[in-house]
Amino acid sequence: MSRSDFTVRVGGDSATGGIITTGEIFARIAAYAGLDVYTTRTIPSEIKGGHVMFQARLASTAVWSQGDDLDMLVAFDQESIDRYFKLIRFGGVLVFNSNDGQPPAVTDGVTTYALPLNEIAKSINFQRGRNLIAIGALVKLFGLPFETATTVIEKQLGRKKELLEQNIGALKTGFDYVEKNITPTAPYSLKPRADAPEHDRLVLNGNQALALGAFAAGCRFFAGYPITPATDIMEFLAGEFPRIGGTLIQAEDEIAALGMAMGASYTGARAMTATSGPGLSLMTELIGHATMSELPVVIVDVQRAGPSTGMPTKVTQGDLRISVFGAHDDAPRIVLAPVSVEDCFYQMINAFNLAEKYQTPVIFLSDQDMSVRVQTIAPFDLTRVQHAPRWLWESNGVNQSYARYAITPSGISPMALPGMKGGQYVAEGLEHLPSGAPDYTPEVHFENMEKRARKIRSAASEADRMRLLERFGDRGAPLVILGWGSTIGPVREAVARAQKEGMKVEVLYTKLIFPLPRDQIAEFIAERKAILVPELNHTGQYARMIQAEFWREVVSLRKFGGIPFTTQEIYDRIKQIYAAKCKPKGRGARALPTRRAKKRIIRKS
């Protein structure tokens, strides 16, 4: 029997090595065999030692979340069995390393298969081959083609010839072991997607997608400082940039990294840096400077659980507040948040275009989960790649005096670049006259605060054109979900489930976090019975921003354990709120819009 949607988890100790690699290679094999893949993982921060787990959801239809219950657990050790056995659904499968663990005495409804991984590895004299033996066994158990497996292994591990042969040997050993010793009795063969043509799917993670996006956006200058989970953006670009004449610098710290990017931008380059929370904190002062001196720059923050060093390999959406408000005094900037691995690519292009057009720092809020998650997605639509230019100053040939910070209706002023004759000015962190010369008079400060705020506010007008909103579900539904970032995956699945059961739900995700697309949100939340705002942080940072902006009561659904929402969690909440507030005859009067919000509603007749 074949299933169309399958969740497999691999667990073990990272000291023995290769748990994540095992999972990742296996997921790639499934992807190459034509399945949709959505992976997630937890790893300890230590380089060696400590329990790790990798989870892959493999399906022959599109998938949007990591999956709740396990269809199969692959346990490399006893600890993995102890931790996860209870998560295996009725009818599921446990594959375990019988040299390092035993299943519980009662395994009701779960089929167990023993693989003596250590012994098999010993028999082929390749102790470190346990992972590939396990992969070979899984390929057989799932009914995936062996040739696909060898293709992937060649691509992933193919650098050294003899090693490759040894690896493929181990793979075959695992494959054969299952063939000879195990008669499958459980339903676990997988069929590729019916509508998936052979070679049109990308297999990559969020960091890779955003790095490709930066490349597409015309970024040719990167400076960064290593920090989990952002490091591999720098590592990827370090390999790519020299090929295309790009400059990449590993700076001495994050302050230097942003400083270098800003210096490059001052000369006209499309420049960026990438970091995680602790690095973003260090950058705060220079972000204020970029607002003040009106320098375009893109700052990627791959959010990880904090505060402080926190949990470097766990997810959060807790950097919204520092991204929007982290500054001394009012320092408006643009904040963008992609919603998926695929979206990382497109939003990166938007990030650069917004930075250049509005001459401002743009903070790009990815997260740990999205950054490491390997997913199968459609190839990027390169026809959507467009470059918005910076408004450059042009000399009229006469000895005119140039005002870099001219007060304009839009708040954007033409910028001269070094080398342009007559355009000499100082990019200032001090409050300044239109010429750039320092000035502290109240009128000047007032006008400039207005100018900088006006400029950023007007960026909200890009929301529709740049596709900074994602809206789906039932128009006019009594319950709406308003959200941001990567929580959209489980939300999508939970809503689909709720709809099947007759509930009406509509969803809006804003990729533009600041400035908020006010009109669209106001219209969206007007006259609803309940607004659910799910997010991965302790205080409901987005929910509070929405409440403050619109004076509306919202249900803030918060999760902050360092792991993403499950579909079940979102679904349960939808169901609960629906029963309490949205049933046709129920009482829901309290959730009607306030007068203030009503006034802002743009009615579509």
Binding site: Q208, T267, L430
Partner: protein, 297 residues
């Protein structure tokens, strides 16, 4: 020219045409906010003269600074400028230079900016060796914040923030630069304008990171003009500026403060190395579809 400037040094080859302007043409017209008598006036004068002598077009120059009295410098010069945050002149300057290597990039600032808050950047720019000149106006005090001890203040200095005298030993910027392997290390004095002009010119003509410590007294909070005048003396003509250990010995000289070029040893610049890295790996046909295709299953 300073007596011991390496004679074989070729002037920089520039991609732009040289201009004929007076020192005054290199002033922006914004009146400096410095106290009357501040050493920084002398530095500005020598600097403008150096630019006029080197005949660099104003639009090809970028002056990058941090925060402090001395960091106001770019505002008063007719050139492009980037007045950054406290201590961050060097990374900003590195970004400018690496993105646009033809530009003439000069970083300026004070002793606090360079050796306290911005200290973390100093050894690294020396390691990278971009063709950037760094002029540090050292007054052994925090001028802008009205007179607190700085990393170069003598031990025991009594100021409002150290009413019983400072406990820290001062650091020596020349030794620091030498230890960091800066490829050009010199010391000038704002009260010796002619020599200072020549030093700045030599630094700007040096290809690579050139560091000039400029004694520039703060007349309001630490007026040492007379003491410095008494203590300074030229580096002996016999000194070989390629000898780093000899340079260190000179810097350690207990009898006074030497002025001139301590060390100069050109080596490939950061931007040259980056360029050759790019040349070696460049692929004309490499584009987005190909990059993307590597992720295709």
């Amino acid at each position: 020219m300073p007596s011991n400037l390496i004679q074989s040094m070729q002037p920089q080859t520039r991609t732009f045409e040289l201009v004929n302007l007076s020192a005054n043409d290199y002033k922006s017209g914004v009146r400096p906010v410095w106290c009357p008598g501040c050493g920084d006036y002398g530095v500005l004068a020598s600097f403008s003269k150096a630019l006029a002598d080197l005949r660099i077009p104003p639009e090809q120059i970028v002056i990058v600074s941090g925060i402090g009295c001395s960091s106001r410098f770019p505002i008063f010069v007719n050139s492009y400028g980037l007045h950054g945050t406290h201590g961050r002149a060097l990374p900003l300057a590195t970004g400018v230079k690496m993105a646009q290597p033809e530009l003439v990039v000069v970083a300026v600032g004070g002793d606090g900016d360079a050796f306290s808050i911005g200290m973390g950047h100093f050894p690294h720019i020396a390691r990278r060796n971009p063709d950037i000149t760094y002029l540090v106006m050292d007054n052994e005090i925090y001028g802008l914040t009205k007179g607190q001890p700085s990393p170069t203040s003598p031990v025991g200095m009594e100021k409002k923030a150290s009413p019983y005298g400072t406990l820290e030993t001062p650091l020596d910027p020349i030794l620091l630069a030498l230890a960091s392997n800066a490829s050009f290390v010199a010391r000038g004095f704002s009260s010796k304008p002619k020599e200072l002009t020549e030093l700045i010119k030599a630094a700007m003509q040096h290809k690579g990171f050139s560091f000039v410590q400029i004694i520039s007294p703060c007349v309001s909070f630490n007026d040492m003009t007379q003491e410095f005048k008494g203590a300074t003396l030229p580096i002996p003509a016999t000194h070989d500026p390629r000898d780093r250990l000899a340079a260190m010995k000179l810097a350690e000289h207990p009898g006074g403060m030497y002025l001139g070029i301590f060390y100069q040893q050109p080596r490939p610049t950061y931007e040259e190395k980056m360029q050759s890295l790019q040349d070696k790996n460049a692929r004309a046909d490499y584009d987005l579809p190909e990059m993307m295709s590597r992720f295709m299953r």
